[in-house]
Symmetry: C2
Subunit: 197 residues, 2 copies
Amino acid sequence: MLQNGNYEALYSRIPCYIEFLENCSEEFISSAALAIALNYGEVQVRKDLAKVSNGGKPKIGYRVSSLLVDLKHYMRYELPVTAVIVGMGRLGEALNHYHGFEKLNLKIVAAFDINDQYLNLKDFKNICERENVSLGIITVPKESAQEIADLMVESNIKGIWNFSSTALNVPSDCMVKNENMANSLAILLKLIKDRAE
Amino acid sequence: MLQNGNYEALYSRIPCYIEFLENCSEEFISSAALAIALNYGEVQVRKDLAKVSNGGKPKIGYRVSSLLVDLKHYMRYELPVTAVIVGMGRLGEALNHYHGFEKLNLKIVAAFDINDQYLNLKDFKNICERENVSLGIITVPKESAQEIADLMVESNIKGIWNFSSTALNVPSDCMVKNENMANSLAILLKLIKDRAE
């Protein structure tokens, strides 16, 4: 569970602003226009942007190129992060080859699995220390997930992206973000079913 | 963008309640205990549960087994949904084999791709109508995503789970949930970087 609840909502909106603005052909954009485009509340967007950038001008809005720089800087996209993946089933493979992490300055430097064609877990700690790995991605079945999380904590990893559909116990200086594909889908299915009435 | 913003937050918490309670060995649970376990606010949890179940008793809380029934019924897990996937790269394959959709009563009935080993898109509309498909999963590159979304709308699909990292234009009676792995990861990376200061 992410500990930093107050900021999580803001941090989840900023990548959406960035994505929209990167495909925006206007020179300037207002909070109001951004709010409409993304289906957010206008007050929300105004507050978010004021937190991130001081480039807003009354009646004109923000220069798109400068706002993009400020948003990316706020999210610290410029700082590189190295990551490892453990569990090279279909999901691990998909993440390992995903195009879209480069823009976050993320580099996946090693892939581990019990399958011999990947790196062996006995070398995990050494590799993580040598490569200064700060993110661990867990795509193993839930039965093995805690053991892998323990190994990541021992190896000084500071954040875990957990796809194993199970809660992990880690010390408070390691952050866990749980990604549960089924829970995410459940929201959409509920809305479809409500509409079908 | 999901249209039903007010409910989305509630709908995203309920699957987490369900997941926790399914692994809970107690006979009864209080809103307070559930709030602590999931790191939610207690008032939030009390309101959520009151909306979903009338089985709560002062000082005792909810019977876990009954609360589970009420939560699943609220999310309509009992109604089956049939789905198709378009784009059988690594991510499409991973979703097609994902264990965890069964509990939502979701069945993926067909997988389409330009690669010959999958179904051909020329049969898309027929298959969707015959199988009464209501959910379409898009895992094609962003360049082809709108074209696939149009085909889904024509085929009477009511919800699209969109992994293509691009915004889709669809009529208002079709719901889109965008799933962007990089945006999701960006939140965790920001929190790790903040902590590393």
